[in-house]
């Protein structure tokens, strides 16, 4: 890390990454309590402009931080070794947080009892020394790509307040880009980590499907839901992801597989990696800025090969059908009795989804498996694939239509055109933020690997960050 002056304040440290903050607390340069106060102050100061946060757990944060400081004061070496010592974080409001009602962005859940306990990922992060400071805005029930939440108001992009933060984990991306916290958690069913990471200019990791347990979070589509972290550095993604790994039988979709830590191999560089750009569908559905970002990344990595996955549009269609049907079926009881209380932007999609014929859904799951085999075949010959994360930079809040490759497309669903085929088959992806392809705004590139190779996507992201090709500066607010 670049050293901060001895007079550096907690507010200065807060704008560094989680790795630096934990080290500063460990070395006594700042206390966990001072970091927590600085974090709460920055949330309070920036929140009126970005609207990322729906709950601030100030008492819990200050109590947790004070307990960590007390342990350090008596020389507790176990506390001193915690990898996320005193690092504040926040979570999409679909994660169970003890004492808070799990909203999942909805009005309907507001009257429900609070969660009795934290979800396992929050518990694991807290055990690693992290300090929870709040819950974050999202598209209702995670069905959207813009976080234009009619109940809470839209989350705004910290780099341009007129623009969308992306979604559905828009609060998770905006809070990191605004410097409120160094890392957050979100969920990704069809792109909900990768789209907001791209639009807000930060790093996001969607792990392999089945890697991180999802119990203790509000589901959307059991067949496709993933959870993962957002951060301003590749190192922080590795640090937080490693702290969250581990099987939990309470999630029927979690695969019983040993943890495979990534931090130790993060600096191995590119040696031995075969990297290629995905052509065809992925370039045809992106605007020039997004394709330019991929070209810059490919050049930096020396990746000259271009390869194609077959039938990508059908894979996207499969993900669309599975999402629509499972989401609609999940919410059928509320659709019957409280349809008017749903988010107007997604209610009619839920209603339609609840009616889909079973044959469509089964066919979608069969096409999904076929497509996964095609990707596995491609990965025999390549280790890492590159593709744009979104077709464009952040659109203005309220944008209804996008023009992509001469085609006029509905803006909200089209933001996920490039992420949806990849999550459909559960591949691990790190979105890296690239600047300079648009005069003022970032756009993300998906760094994709074969299942269970999160280590590779994080290694490549680390190289790109060290080369300055990818960067996640805190927005000037």
């Amino acid at each position: 890390m670049t050293a901060l002056a001895p007079s550096a304040s907690a507010a200065d440290w807060l704008l560094r990454d989680a790795s630096d903050i934990a080290r500063a607390v460990r070395e006594g340069q700042v206390t966990a309590t001072a970091i927590a106060h600085a974090c709460l102050e920055r949330i309070s100061r920036t929140e009126p402009r970005i609207n990322a946060t729906t709950d601030v757990t100030a008492c819990r944060a200050l109590d947790t931080a004070a307990a960590l400081d007390a342990r350090l004061a008596v020389g507790d070496m176990t506390a001193r070794a915690l990898p996320l010592l005193g690092v504040p974080f926040a979570v999409k409001n679909l994660f169970d947080v003890a004492g808070l009602t799990t909203l999942a962005g909805s009005k309907i859940e507001r009257g429900k009892p609070p969660a009795a306990r934290d979800g396992p990922l929050i518990a694991r992060l807290q055990a690693a020394g992290a300090v929870l400071v709040g819950a974050l805005n999202m598209d209702e029930y995670a069905y959207g790509f813009t976080t234009e939440n009619s109940h809470e108001g839209p989350t705004r992009n910290p780099h341009d307040l007129a623009r969308s933060a992306g979604g559905s984990s828009g609060g998770s991306a905006a809070a990191v880009a605004a410097g409120q916290v160094p890392f957050t958690l979100g969920s990704d069913t069809n792109g909900s980590i990768r789209v907001p990471s791209s639009l807000c200019g930060i790093f996001g990791l969607k792990p392999t499907f089945g890697r991180l347990p999802r119990n203790g979070s509000y589901p959307f589509v059991a067949s496709l839901d993933h959870l993962g972290p957002f951060a301003r550095s590749a190192r922080d993604l590795a640090l937080t992801y490693d702290a969250m790994q581990g099987f939990d039988a309470a999630d029927a979709g979690c695969i019983d597989r040993a943890a495979e830590p990534t931090l130790a191999t993060l600096d191995r560089g590119l040696e031995g990696l075969r990297i290629a750009t995905l052509g065809g569908y992925f370039t045809e559905h992106a605007q020039p800025e997004a394709n330019d970002a991929v070209a810059r990344v490919a050049t930096a990595l020396g990746a000259q090969r271009r390869v194609e996955l077959p039938e990508v549009a059908r894979a996207r269609a499969a993900a669309f059908i599975i999402t629509n049907a499972e989401g609609g079926a999940l919410h059928l009881p509320e659709l019957r009795t409280q349809a008017a209380d749903f988010e107007p932007l997604s209610r009619d999609r839920f209603l339609a989804g609840a009616l889909l014929p079973a044959a469509w859904v089964v066919q979608a799951q069969r096409v999904r498996r076929w497509f996964a085999h095609q990707a596995a075949e491609l990965f025999r010959d390549v280790d890492v694939l590159l593709a744009p994360a979104t077709p464009c930079v952040a659109p203005e809040v309220g944008t209804e239509w996008l023009t992509i490759n001469g085609q006029r497309l509905p803006a909200r669903p089209s933001l996920g055109l490039l992420t949806q085929p990849i999550s459909c088959i559960g591949l691990p992806v790190c979105t890296v933020p690239v600047w300079g392809c648009h005069p003022r705004l970032p756009v993300g590139v998906q760094v994709i690997a074969a299942p269970w190779r999160e280590d590779l996507v994080l290694r490549v992201a680390q190289v790109l960050q060290q080369q300055g090709v990818a960067a996640a500066p805190v927005a000037a607010l």
Binding site: E311, F320, L351, L355, L356, Q363, A372
Partner: protein, 68 residues
Amino acid sequence: MTPAEIEAYVDAAAAALQLPIAPAHRPGTLQYFALAASMAELIAAHPLTSRDEPAESFVPIAPAARTS
């Protein structure tokens, strides 16, 4: 599916599921069902054999071990 087929199907399926669709929500529901139908056409046209299984899998759940 034609627009008329979509309307007939949506009305019949909604009745079967006891899912009332308010007049204000009906145009949107029909529009999104038509979008899903276009996606279904894409995947239905994809050649598969009877041996191509769905991606979903089920893992049987063994009883928890006795504690005494």
